[in-house]
Amino acid sequence: MTVIAVDRDPIARTLTIVAEFDKPAERVWQVWADPRQLERWWGPPTYPATVVDHDLSEGGRVTYYMTGPEGERLHAWWRIISVDPPRSLAFEEGNAYDSGPHDDPPTTSIKVRLVETHEKTTMTITCRFAPTPDGEVPGAGTEKGMRLAVGQIDAILTTTWP
């Protein structure tokens, strides 16, 4: 596995990370599609994940909990927005306080895209924090101003963040 690109955009509140794997897309897809494989990588070693429900279809739910060193359980859920095996997956993630109802607003929306070339697969993961429910279509007028200002922000962040 090699991470080939990372982009952090604080104002758009997105993190994009691109990794390359030495396996065909069908194989890489399984780490999402097979709950037993998902459990082996989703939680950090100190907080292993246990997947309870795993319905990777549009509108489907995935529920899981991570077990901490003290035996405490952190419950969370995904709601599947779209799925196109073995190419793409989009879902929202949210916290739950127990294994009960999952009506808290999502904390993150995550998009996964797999592209296979010559037996290798690049996986692009885009996380947007505090996602807006109705999507975003910035007006053409503001967009130009935004791009200008993004340059400014980059400049400022480079000076304050070595």
Partner: protein, 118 residues
């Protein structure tokens, strides 16, 4: 959720990202970098009432993303670059989380599948 972060940090992160989850507010942050625009000057830029813009500015202020300062009869809005940098640092935390996950995916892919018939 990021394991190891305290509840207070989690709430703060949530406050910042929720404040950023609006196009007008993101635009205000960008335009208020120089700190020379007043609330009413900002209000003229958007197709909404001054009150609506004031509300957006209040959300940003609560998240620590802008502060207001008096300049004569005007209230100038100034972006808090430290908080923008804080959002940047939060993304860096998530990047570490994902780098760990991607490493572990690499490990999973390197091993035969459990119960593999092969």
């Amino acid at each position: 959720m990021v394991v190891g972060r305290t509840a207070t940090e989690e709430r703060r992160a949530d406050l910042i990202f929720r404040a950023l989850a609006d196009r007008t507010r993101r635009d205000v942050i960008r335009r208020a970098m120089s700190g020379t625009l007043s609330v009413s000057a900002l209000a003229r830029l958007y197709p909404m009432s001054t009150t609506a813009v004031q509300k957006h500015v209040a959300v940003l202020e609560e998240a620590g993303l802008v502060h207001l300062r008096r300049h004569g009869r005007q209230q100038l809005v100034q972006t808090e670059i430290d908080t923008v940098a804080k959002a940047q640092a939060l993304l860096a935390e998530f990047e570490q989380l994902w780098r760990g996950r991607l490493d572990r995916i690499g490990d999973v892919l390197a091993q035969p599948i459990d119960g593999d018939r092969a």
